[in-house]
């Protein structure tokens, strides 16, 4: 084929995918009108395009689909599980009309599907029978002066400690508005509350609610709370220590310019604080600090992020045995890709990281192991040592708002289409609705904080003055 004809053929090929300029179109038409061979080849090129569009989708084996599913969701396929459940739901209707026939059909269906059970969780669970939740009772009665807005609620030795707003003089009283002072509230059981007086946390809340206590952790030596404090002219990271949850002392914090505390965990007689720090060059990286209750000093090295990282943060931290685990995000590809990471350390200074396909809502220590509930997508992660993690499906949950565990009962606050619900589980994997009785839940989608102490799980509204107690009967 001559170069001249080749140029026309390229024009004909371009016309398959693009609109030709009028001049190009006229030129092509003119040439094709006089060149039978080019006409034939141009038609063949158009036929090739049609043939390409007609190529069938290559078959995918069940094994390949399963492998892909595990790669994406980190668990065995729940497609088939969901299908089975759908079939089971349909079957339930059939059973109403023809129990015996329905049962036979059901057996046939389930035997035919021959499903593989979900990946077993690696942690011991309270009960092997998901149909047998421990006994529980829900209550909303409170006495004393409970927090009107539970920003932080932590189960602690001796009961619950909560940081929440109290009255906001001179303002409309909205939580999170300027001049709203935070106060400490204590309760031995979640019902009787005491608002501590004379406790100066020294913070004035910002309009956007960014100031205040962010997290508190209890250890053998006492309590450490971390967050942000300010006077209206600016805010800085702050920490408060208490040996008894009643008398709180603000600790001197080293220069935390461009740093933020996110979470704190007790580590023996000390604490580890995690968050992030932004360098003068604009790189945000995970950061950790240690505290003995008297001072705070930087702990982690400053080069935790890979070279490509533009942003990385620690969001949650927990310690169990010799392991310290943190969750966070790494943003790469110029900000286009956000990847969830787990970090593990034995000393709070040197951290090993691994990507995890869970959207962490929280990081819990359960049964001497770690549990990372996923906010979305029904996946959670577990590990006994912080090194080896298993992902498993979280069945029955839509949008997780919070999770806590006490006395063999897991309780989750969940939301779907703006409607809140409370779910119970014996293993953190398979959830079922709790019997609410007369308890109203319409507020939990505004924000809820969960905490556990003893046999009680507490749900405190972070947007209003509501408390629900779930008392477990082991």
């Amino acid at each position: 084929m001559s170069t001249i004809h080749g140029a026309y053929l390229e024009l004909a090929a371009i016309a398959v995918d693009f609109d030709l300029e009028p001049e190009e179109a006229r030129t092509l038409e003119g040439h094709l009108a006089t060149c039978r061979d080019c006409r034939s080849r141009a038609a063949a090129i158009r036929r090739d395009a049609v043939a390409l569009a007609g190529l069938s989708v290559l078959p995918v084996s069940r094994q390949t689909s399963e492998r892909l599913w595990r790669g994406v969701f980190g668990r065995r396929s729940s497609l088939t599980t969901a299908r089975t459940l759908a079939l089971a739901a349909v079957l339930a209707l059939a059973l109403l009309g023809a129990a015996l026939v329905g049962a036979a059909v059901y057996r046939a269906i389930t035997e035919d599907l021959a499903l593989t059970p979900n990946t077993p969780p690696t942690l011991p669970i309270a009960s092997p029978d998901p149909n047998a939740l421990p006994g529980y009772a829900l209550a909303t009665d409170v006495a004393g002066q409970p927090p009107t807005r539970g920003e932080v609620v932590a189960g602690a030795p001796g009961g619950f400690v909560a940081f929440g707003d109290i009255s906001c003089p001179g303002s409309e009283g909205g939580a999170g508005s300027v001049d709203c002072q935070q106060a400490v509230h204590l309760s031995p059981d979640g019902r009787e509350w005491e608002q501590l007086t004379g406790v100066e946390l020294g913070d004035v809340r910002a309009d956007d609610g960014s100031a205040g206590v962010a997290a508190v952790a209890a250890g053998p030596a006492g309590y450490l709370a971390v967050g942000t404090a300010g006077t209206g002219d600016g805010w800085t990271e702050a920490a408060w220590f208490s040996s008894d949850a009643r008398a709180w002392t603000r600790i001197d914090v080293p220069d935390t310019t461009d740093a933020e505390f996110s979470d704190v965990a007790a580590l023996g007689d000390a604490w580890i604080i995690v968050g992030h720090r932004t360098t003068p060059t604009g790189v945000t990286h995970p950061a950790a600090w240690r505290s003995d209750g008297l001072t705070i000093r930087p702990s982690a090295g400053q080069e935790l992020d890979p070279g490509e990282t533009v942003t990385a943060t620690f969001d949650h931290v927990a310690a169990s045995g010799p392991a310290i685990v943190a969750t966070g995000f790494v943003v790469t590809d110029g900000g286009d890709t956000s990847v969830t990471y787990l970090w593990r350390s034995s000393d709070g200074t040197t951290w090993d990281s691994q990507e995890i396909r869970v959207d962490p809502l929280d990081l819990l220590v359960v049964a001497e192991g770690f549990y990372v509930p996923g906010e979305y997508l029904n996946v959670h992660a577990r590990s006994t040592d912080g090194v080896t993690w298993s992902l498993d499906s979280t069945l029955g949950v839509n949008h997780l708002l919070g999770v806590a565990h006490a006395a063999g009962l897991w309780v989750a606050a969940d939301e779907k289409d703006g409607v809140g619900s409370l779910l119970g589980s014996t293993d953190g994997s398979l959830w079922r609705p709790l019997d609410l009785g007369s308890v109203e839940l319409d507020w939990i989608t505004d924000g809820v904080v969960l905490a556990a102490y003893g046999d009680t799980i507490l749900l405190v509204g972070s947007g209003n003055a509501r408390i629900i107690r779930v008392e477990v009967s082991p």
């Binding site: 995918d17 290559l58 995918v60 892909l68 339930a92 979900n118």
Partner: protein, 189 residues
Amino acid sequence: MDGPELDEYATDLALAPRVVGADSAIVAAFEAYHAEILSFLRRATRDDEVAEDLTQETFLRLMRELRQGRAPDNTRAWLYRVASNLVTSRGRRLAVATAWLRRQVSVSREQHGEPPEAGVLRDERSAELEGALATVSSDARTALLLSAQGFSGPEIGEAIGRTHGATRSLMARARVSLRAELERREVRA
């Protein structure tokens, strides 16, 4: 402890509607499109393992989009764009170009022209087309496959990260080259 047994799931009728309704977006997308995205990537990369990796990455990116509240308007189109972008990015990262392509083309059709799970291709015409497709460059192949999925030229350019002019040129030459290869095969046959 063993995982919950089938019967425990299946008989948990109270949970069924909730579970079936959960994860709808990502599960529905995976169920609806993973086969065709994998198929597209197999053809684009000529490498089953790489295709699986890229399919996985494509859906992981969709997961991240969804969990960040950015549901694509057209999920299928979004998946193809991301998948093709992954192919071209990968190609550039590996400096694919000629050496990689030559290696791919030299791989026998027994291995790639008929993927292990594909079985016999639909017909001889399809087999010839698949074989000819393997002879064009990775980016060109990706572009032609996107076109086969109904993407316009400008959309393809955006997906593979090339300018309008570069995409026009790439695709035109690819189509002419594909035609020439098919004619060579017809002559040999």
